[in-house]
């Protein structure tokens, strides 16, 4: 079963350049991120037409800055390397699946 990717400043561009990727920008000290985390892990196992990844903003500030992340959790859905949708705050699994479906269409 697919697992969520661990994204870093180094591998980010490569991992998101093709297809749809949902990225969870998070940090260990952020409470709401602890709610989002398990949802992202489940999502990664359940979606087939998209990759799902997590980026720890604490260690990867360049990427977080590049996409203007100023609040966590922030979820950004990329298509072929471009940010298509930015979601701020905790989001439920079904919600995210639907957003991914809409973008895949």
């Amino acid at each position: 079963m697919p697992q969520e990717l661990t994204l870093t400043d180094q591998n980010f561009k490569d991992e998101i350049k093709q297809g749809i990727t949902l990225v969870d920008f998070w940090a260990p000290w952020c409470g709401p991120c602890q709610q989002q985390g398990p949802i992202i892990e489940e999502l990664a196992k359940e979606v087939e037409n998209a990759k799902v990844g997590k980026l720890n903003v604490d260690n990867n500030q360049i990427t977080a800055q590049e996409f203007g992340v100023m609040s966590i959790p922030t979820l950004i859905i990329f298509k072929d390397g471009n940010p298509i949708e930015t979601l701020v705050g905790v989001h439920q699994k079904e919600d995210l699946k639907k957003k991914i479906q809409d973008i895949a269409k």
Binding site: A27, W29, C30, G31, P32, C33, Q34, Q35, V57, D58, A64, G68, V69, M70, S71, I72, T74, T86, V88, G89, V90, Q92
Partner: protein
Amino acid sequence: MPETKNLIIIGSGPAGYTAGIYASRAQLKPILFTGEEPGGQLTWTTEVENYPGFPEGVQGPKLMQEFRKQAEKFGTEIIDAKVDKVDFRVRPFKVWSADKEYQSRAIIIATGASANWIGLPNETRLKGHGVSSCATCDGFFFKDKDVVVVGGGDVALEDANFLTKVTKSVKIIHRRDCLRGSEFLQKRARENKKISFVWNSEVVDVLGEKKVSGVRVKNNQTNEESDIACDGMFVAIGHHPNTEIFKGQIELEDKAGYIVVHDDTRTTVEGVFAAGDVADFKYRQAVTAAGMGCEAAIDVEKWLENYEKVIAKEADKKNC
């Protein structure tokens, strides 16, 4: 027809999970809806220093995961969804979640409270782009920047103090000319060189195209408006109880909408009980919410013993 449950618990903060622990140990086989914020308000904070049993402190999210495990261990059925609608005018009561209907003899409402926003269009637009209600989450993004904190209560002071660890400066914008709340926090804020105060002022607009560049404030004594340049605005102006879906079903207190309870945890509808911040505007602590969750579960257990009698009495009333 959906199966009739003994007890549905709405909410997964300290009150809801504690009710789950007690009710499942009493063999009531409760279902618990977590809502959109599993674990409740404590998951927004880092260190909780006043929950008994943790002399070294405990992380809010961690504490709430343990609450959940304990409720699950004794058989509370946990559903990660929010309740959209209720009907307390029929017996058994009806509850809808994600288009599915559930029925239950008793209900415990433990939907807690949520942070208030000022209610400005540009505040909504710039959420996540400099506007935040979670200093511990987002302070990190404002390293060496200037920020404002809106509010004058304990949470505002805690937030301001926390933010000075990373930011260049923090201005506290408060609509009065004095602070209320904890003396200790007031003293700490006044002595902190990075903190200054903007008194008698209300934020009337948030400025910035793509991200916050400042706020417009109005002095409520002189009615003069001025702009304060800043990169972030943290809002800490109190909380409101989550009672929207119960309007018209049970009595809510006029001013802020807290659930009115009598005889400990009973609401104005027999069989519907309430616990925690949703019914308590006085203490608002994790340990008191947990305590009230326990009370509600014990009250439900007693009340269910007489369920048949209650139903018969109500039927009698309708017949005459």
